[in-house]
Amino acid sequence: MSRVRIDMKAGADLDGFRRALRIFVRDRVAPDDVVFAAEGVQDLFGAPLAGEAPPVVLPRAVTRLIADVVCHRDHERYGLLYRLVWRILKGERGLLEVASDPLVYRLARMQQEVRRDIHHMHGFLRFRRVVTEGGVTEGETESSGIEEKERFVAYFEPVHFTLAAAAPFFAERFANMAWSILTPDGSLHWDGKKLVEGPPARRDPAAAGDGFEEGWRTYYAATFNPARANPKLMAQHMPRRYWADMPEVAAIPELVSFAPVRVREMIAREAAASPKRAPEKALQKMREGRPKSLQDLNALIAASEPLVSGAVPGATRAVLGEGPLDADIVFVGEQPGDQEDRQGRPFVGPAGQLLDRAMAEAGIDRGSVYLTNAVKHFKFEMRGKRRIHQKPTLSEVKHYRWWLMAELEFLSPRLVVTLGGTAALALSGRQVSVTKMRGRQEFPPFAGFLTVHPSYLLRLPDAEAKASAYCAFVDDLRQVREIAGERLKAA
């Protein structure tokens, strides 16, 4: 068969290769019989091909390899790729897995070189800020996006035809910024919405620096440790071909040549170490950093954001504990509810009112006890216009545990009464069954008592159950009063 020729566009002509491949496969043209002619190459034998053919089905890894390798600068790339496809279609379906096959090996190396080049562009490209004073920058076609006051422009010389492949990275990262990347093979311009192609460019020797380049050089120089100088390793990672367009490398010669001197100075200065001052001062500062009173702690809690997930609609403010600081008994609830959140005070809603009543019946003066919550913020879900209470998660309870424990330490009560499982969890650090554990408890370092949360009584559906549960609750509170009284006497 006589040879056939296909003309390819300059650069990475993926579309051209796809078209050629389809025609060749349809016509069963052997790899030895094709010529891929780069744009501008004259006088090639063989008749140029025209027309279209149906798509070819290939494993995904192969199409990925093709997309990468077409960016390579080696003019044999199309021919090699076609050889690979030919063999795969001839029955070697798993060819790409045979990394030891010479053709696969060569293409894999080319792919790796292209990928490395893209990676280098991502890392080593440097933008310079250019003020455009409302106008349209040169090289830009119609501007459609953001109102442009500044544009970031970079010049880069890739090894392969990788500009288009590397650009999406910049579009994702600098989406909200106008930028241009200029290369000898072409340029790309981003306006906040889309990428526009432009002509090849040269490095502009007159391009002005950017106010931050000097600062960047300062940073680069400072972050180098002269005691570990190893310029060879540096050059291995950062090939010299990119240096011309990286502002920081201007600092390198001086850094390297002065490194030995700097190290000698460092060692010489060791002898002149100043005497240490007393460490107590630092430790004292640390202690001072902690809240010194319940008031300090509360100020801290009030100023902090809710330690619940930002994704969950959460509280509007912290609801702090309330009551005399020398209270014998501290009641710990779950978390503030709707009313508590609005008024900024604990136990003022329906459950709080029920607690008041039960306390009065049990002979506990509400004014003499301290009331607080395990979780300091209201967690809820909006349902229509209503804010529906949501149970805090295990970890949310644990987040608040430090605050709660610090609070209790300031109060040092004789008895801590946990209302419901969440409060018991906060004090014990574990999941607790209210029915099984109801009654006297130890919550080291505190003596404790576990009973139900008053809101549980409100939720019971029938009146009879409600009444008996309420009696049991009042009984519990009587016990609480007695235990606290005993401990008071014992003390």
């Binding site: 798993g94 990394a99 030891s100 090996y105 991502h122 890392g123 080593f124 490209l125 440097r126 933008f127 310079r128 970031f152 994702e172 990262r173 909200n176 910024m177 931050f212 600062g215 960047w216 300062t218 940073y219 680069y220 120089a221 400072a222 972050t223 180098f224 440790n225 005691a227 570990r228 100088a229 190893n230 060879k232 390793l233 291995q236 990672h237 950062m238 490398v249 850094l255 490194a259 190290v263 100075e265 460092m266 060692i267 200065r269 060791e270 002149a272 170490a273 100043s274 240490k276 630092a282 500062k285 640390m286 950093g289 330690l307 930002g310 994704a311 998660t393 970890s395 430090w402 605050w403």
Partner: protein, 403 residues
Amino acid sequence: MDEKLATKLGILADAAKYDVSCASSGAPKRKAGKNGLGATAPSGICHAFTPDGRCVSLLKILLTNYCLFDCAYCINRRSSNVPRARFSVEEVVRLTLEFYKRNYIEGLFLSSGIARSPDRTMEEMMRVAKTLRRVHGFRGYIHLKAIPEASPWLIEEAGRYADRLSINLELASGASLKALAPEKNDRTITEAMGQMHERILEARDERRRFSPAGQSTQVIVGADDVKDAAIIRASARLYDDYALKRVYYSAFSPIPEASLLLPAKAPPLRRENRLYQADWLMRFYGFSADEVAESGEDGMLALDVDPKLAWALKHRERFPVDVNRAEREMLLRVPGLGQRAVERILTSRRHQKLRLPDLARLTAGLKRALPFLVTPDHRPVSLIDRLDLRQRLAEPAQQMSLF
């Protein structure tokens, strides 16, 4: 950039350079939002390399190098006679954004001396991260070096904005810590690590954002006389107990005006290097801490050969290994074969019997692997028993540092 800010930058970057945990990997993949700036790349990107061969990927600075503490190995310690500076929250934010926009960096690595009080310092660090995220919609990488002495809720809040939080263990033994950093307390440090680990796990369960790239730590090597074996075992424990993402080793550098308690010279960088290799063996090659630790002599890793080769030389009875038949676990133990090479061998050999020329295309370490491998065209019977095998495979004994 104005001169005052540049001066500060010089001082506070210089002071931060001894912290080596500066990778930007492991963050969840993110793109810039509509009004935001920044993205994260799955494996991080190096934007430059310094003449010490290290990668610059983040703006690595201290918030301040004033410090109340007096840790002997640290250049920022109270008694050190270095110039001091302090950034404001806004300054750090501005520097990060401006550098980021010019594609100099992947994000920010912020550490700090303990100025005024641990809480005040931690709070300001948290505010840097929060301002970047909330006010500027910054979606690049943020790594905060938490202050273990700070209140847990501050660290907690910081974790909501940072990609990674870390706490420096600094010294592998509590005794060294007591001698060299008397104000530091190893319990405070490990407790803070434990809490952080718990938070990370919980957040993952609840699909909440908390230090999604995990936590890491740094151990200084050569400032005390702790042996490699002890360091390796300590690291293995850290990986187990706190699911650390990385343990970084930093060869102690002769820092200006280091304390008289410290050795006057730096340990060879090769030791640091060997520890990293040992670390890799544990994390990716299926070696246990004990196996790695025992590959050396007297609790120190060999300096002339890497720990994998050292292990193989001590276990010659398990070699040579048949490339066409051996299991992955054993192939991974062959010196010279990396993880990638082993995977390639496994897939390639399903299609063909591998011979030496094939292997040469699959790994760059064939020369080192030869004494330990069998292929249809190669059998190293005599080589594996040679007494001088070690010398033949050892790297030339050159010091890699300037000393």
